[in-house]
């Protein structure tokens, strides 16, 4: 091996790439994966701030932030995880009216989703009552906000005890959708944001679960306290709450809060 090659190789291996400016790092709940990317592009166009998002279950992101993950903003799929970080003194909602409460930026919608080629009745509350429904996919109710909502809805319908042996639990809402899309589960309680993705809207149809059946899925945002880009972080939160973006959220399956 020539000396030049070795030098090039060690440069490649050991020298960190030089960026002009560290991007704003966004920890985003998995249900935002179909929604957030175009918003971040618009954000960069408007403000010149480049933001990069990591999509994970809200619980996982919370654990990572607790252990020092270098995120600047946390967009959760519920209020309990960002609240947990605020209580631990690791995040805040400074700048809003109450800095100890996460900023609600959208509300989630729970839907019952089924493949179009299913032999069972089309999605409705009757489908949930049908004995032909053998496998119903939900997200993990212990930590996935949509899983929690699914469980609450089944309990409100007094169907939980009947359906319990027929539930298959997925790690998150995307995996619950995969269980149904691969036809291994007959139907699934998933997020409207997932149901509206091109893939799932081509494969199946959905029924919006009546909102009085489950507590609202409020999605909260916080700024991670030891961020070095507090201004940029607040700009992103303001941007999310701006009328244009709120309208856009509505189109992708989230309910605007403004």
């Amino acid at each position: 091996m020539s000396k030049q090659f070795l030098a090039a190789l060690s440069a490649f291996l050991f020298v960190a790439p030089l960026g002009a400016q560290a991007p704003l790092r966004v920890a985003a709940a998995a249900d935002l994966e179909p929604v957030l990317p175009p918003i971040l592009v618009q954000f960069e166009k408007n403000t010149g701030i480049h933001a990069e998002a990591t999509y994970q279950a809200s619980a996982t992101l919370t654990m990572q932030i607790e252990n020092g993950a270098p995120f600047d903003v946390f967009l959760s799929a519920d209020l309990s995880f960002p609240k947990r970080l605020i209580d631990a003194g690791l995040a805040d909602a400074a700048g809003s009216s109450d800095s100890s409460t996460p900023i609600t930026y959208a509300k989630g919608t729970l839907v019952l989703w089924e493949r179009k080629d299913s032999q069972l009745p089309s999605p409705s509350l009757d489908l949930l009552r049908s004995p032909a429904l053998k496998r119903l996919a939900i997200a993990n109710p212990d930590r996935a906000p949509y899983g929690r909502a699914a469980l609450a809805a089944l309990q409100s319908l007094k169907l939980y005890d009947t359906l319990k042996p027929r539930l298959v639990t997925a790690e998150n809402i995307a995996q619950a959708a995969q269980f149904v899309d691969s036809a291994n589960a007959d139907a699934g309680l998933i997020s409207l944001t997932s149901a509206l993705t091109p893939r799932l809207s081509a494969d199946g149809s959905y029924f919006v679960i009546p909102r009085d059946l489950y507590p609202p899925i409020e999605q909260g945002a916080v700024v991670v306290s030891n961020t070095k880009q507090r201004d940029a972080a607040h700009k992103l939160l303001d941007f999310l709450l701006s009328p244009v973006i709120q309208t856009q959220l509505a189109k992708s399956g989230l309910t605007p809060v403004k």
Partner: protein, 223 residues
Amino acid sequence: MDWQAFALSLRLATVTTAILLAISVPLSSLIVLGRGRWLAAVEALATLPMVLPPTVLGFFLLVLLGPRTAFGRGIAALLGHPLAFSFDGLVVGSVIYSLPFAVQPLVAGFASVDAALVDAARLLGAGPVRLVSSILIPLARRSLLAAVVLSFLHTIGEFGVVLMLGGDIPGATRTLSIVLYDQVENFDYASAGHTALLLLGLSALALAAIYATSQKRGRARSA
């Protein structure tokens, strides 16, 4: 400690290891004793499950074994139930996932047996079965042991495939690694610590016991 999940993990690992032995001993013998370039392709194929991220492998299996493929429908008709979200499905997933961990040590062990011994046995008229059972296996005992231990432990610690293919059903597909992951994700660090410690402790004991006996035998032979 979730003993139901513990028992399930043990059962899954035992069944998987037994099936893997039945597959990988003939397969590794074929790779070592056989001739032809296609055997390289066989060996490559048997190692390939290591490349895919386990959840992705689980996803492919979910689709392949599901009712949307003729294969999946055939298996469901044979068994009377679909493979996904069942113990049988986890066995299929685990066998594929752990195959490299059974085949690799066996191929290495069989290949290190003195070729002169194999040729001599062949000249004396030993068929392939005799060759494997009387020459390769006794002389590569430690590799066989390694294959068993690695397959078993790899299945106990298996996570991504089970997460995807299992659906977290208590008693059927909720294995100990899923329970452990749930405890961590639910911020129940104390329980997670207990579960992990017990799992590590038991595994360390079992491994030490296995290696101690095999070492004694090794020393006795060389003495």
